[in-house]
Symmetry: C2
DNA sequence: AACCGGACGCAAAACGTTTTGTATCCGCAA
DNA sequence: TTGCGGATACAAAACGTTTTGCGTCCGGTT
């Protein structure tokens, strides 16, 4: 009596090939030598029964699940899909499979999702922590878990990281504006308390300082990372009697809102106020005026994350930490 | 000597609580009665050791992994993130975790990813098959696997399904055009051979027939589901001496390309040629002219997929199949 | 007093692999 | 001839749970 609705097991393959399960395992994994003739018989049995090893059993015994967790703030945010896609592609190429989770930048959710992933025995975690510090993340995943994070922090980060050099692209943007004689710059940052935002604002400050420009605090606004927020924040920025001649934004959605706010205020873009975005999501090239923006190389970031996690899985926790920083650059279109 | 770097096991919890592992399991799962006093001791031990059950061991024994696979064509396509997000949200609320995979609409990839997921013991699969038929998908996942698919087929589908009533929204679009006296309609369909495309074209034909309109074959074009393809296909459509007065598109990216092609041909939108999209991705409301389009309720689809898969997991393979069809509707903006 | 059934807890098997220790065989060198 | 080492294969343990079959205890009924 065969078990109903069941996939072939290593045992059934072994029986068909006239060998022990051990030998099948070795024939498939190559961990120990198996004679060519035996291997051939095994492979035929595998083929004929269409055997695929049960990965959960394998995972239990070998402590490798061939899976990694991808924990993003919000997959629906237009920046992430390209990143997720790139990660998925290189992982899939190596036989890994991806879990995905949306944290919403909430500490409790970040923690819960991390625990859920650890409990499932993922081989590694790629995460964009917002509420938790890298150290806190490290604590919940344990000291040996391969971990790459995409947000920067001061000091030593107990994980591998892949980052973007936001200051560089923002510097190009500031230069671009200055060359047009524009020195009155505003900035609409993301919501405070998130970690990206602090660093993007900091990058702006660095870029601006490098250009020898002073930006008054009243020209720095905060907004959620979406269009509505960007419109509202920009409206505030433009309401005062001395308004900036250009506003740089922490992401493209905010920038698109900024353009709308400028239009609503009867201002022309870029003639009256120049707007520059950040990320270069697909929409940026499609809105009107087409958005001048700093390109954040999402696919390259994803690619680097995936390669880094695989490298760490391969090499274990003791090899020194890797920190990858990818350049950003300005793409000039119409809005500035 | 404790094992190095190891999480607490059910055994260590049992020891701390002074009971057997069996009792801990029952205390946690509630499968058998445990006295209040014992349960309390167990819970305290769990708390104190911060015990989380190893899901891969649990999965091996119980054959439930609390995970589902989400197999989409391409997460980077702007329509999918909202869908993925909705699915993720309801699943996460029930303690499930999501695998994600991009099939690219390729038969071999669809098959490989499905097998990979099955091997990992997912509790269910939500998939948008493009190259494989539902029957083929069913065959690789086995007869008992909960399966919901989001593409329609003729005849009986061996899976639960959640679909959109594309004909309805397209009908609204046709009516909208007819009311403006426009009866010369073109259609830019997706790439032939994919399953969505066939059904969207069919929906267009149904809508058009219902309105008593005849559409000549030369006004029907095919294109990949992206902007470049849409522009090229529309250029072909508008090149002839008798061009349609309106072109409906199989998705918004194609429609955005169509607008560009119209502009490139020196035509005004919508005065010379009206353009209507499909999906209502976020970009649709941001391009210029703002796109009139059929809204495809991605979040609602995702929500329904997730609820359906959970329902099926709950109820087993024997309860009758469920088929959910969600309405689509026209949103009128500027392009038509 | 004997019986019964429910509540409670434990031991052992099972899930499907990988891993490790060991046995056998064979050829070749001493 | 003996001894030895490599090649090959197998048996058994292990991974960390859930599940199942029993046993014991207890209170209430006959």
């Amino acid at each position: 009596m065969t078990r109903r609705n069941d996939r072939p097991s290593i045992e059934s393959v072994a029986a068909a090939a006239g060998v022990s399960p051990t030998t099948v395992s070795h024939a498939l994994s190559g961990k120990r030598a198996v004679s060519a003739a035996t291997r051939k018989r095994v492979m035929e049995a595998v083929e004929q029964q269409n055997y695929r090893p049960n990965m959960v059993a394998r995972g239990l015994r070998s402590r490798r699940t061939q899976s990694v967790a991808l924990l993003l703030v919000d997959i629906a945010n237009p920046y992430y899909p390209a990143l997720a896609r790139a990660i998925h592609d290189v992982l899939a190429g190596e036989g890994y499979v991806s879990f995905i989770g949306n944290t919403d930048g909430d500490a409790a959710t970040e923690r819960r999702l991390l625990e859920e992933m650890v409990a499932r025995g993922v081989d590694g975690v790629v995460m964009q922590p917002m509420a938790l510090s890298a150290a806190q993340v490290r604590e919940v995943v344990g000291p040996a878990m391969p971990l790459v994070i995409t947000t920067d922090e001061y000091g030593d980060i107990p994980a591998d990281s892949v980052l973007t050099d936001d200051t560089r692209g923002l510097g190009e943007a500031v230069d671009h504006l200055v060359r047009q004689g524009i020195r009155e710059l505003g900035f609409v940052d993301g919501a405070p308390g998130t970690s990206t935002d602090a660093f993007r604002l900091q990058a702006f400050r660095a870029a601006v300082t490098a250009a020898g420009i002073e930006v008054p605090d009243r020209w720095i606004e905060h907004s959620p990372f979406d269009r509505e927020g960007g419109a509202a924040a920009t409206a505030r920025l433009l309401a005062g009697p001395d308004r900036p001649r250009a506003v740089l934004c922490a992401n493209d959605l905010i920038a698109i809102g900024a353009v709308q706010a400028a239009h609503a205020a009867g201002l022309r873009v870029p003639e009256d106020v120049a707007i520059v975005g950040f990320d270069d999501i697909e929409t940026a090239a499609l809105v009107s005026p087409r958005l001048t923006t700093v390109v954040n190389p999402a696919a390259a970031v994803g690619d680097a994350c995936a390669r880094t996690i695989l490298w760490r899985v391969e090499n274990g926790p003791d090899v020194p930490r890797k920190r990858t920083v990818l350049p950003t650059r300005l793409v000039v279109r119409q809005s500035a």
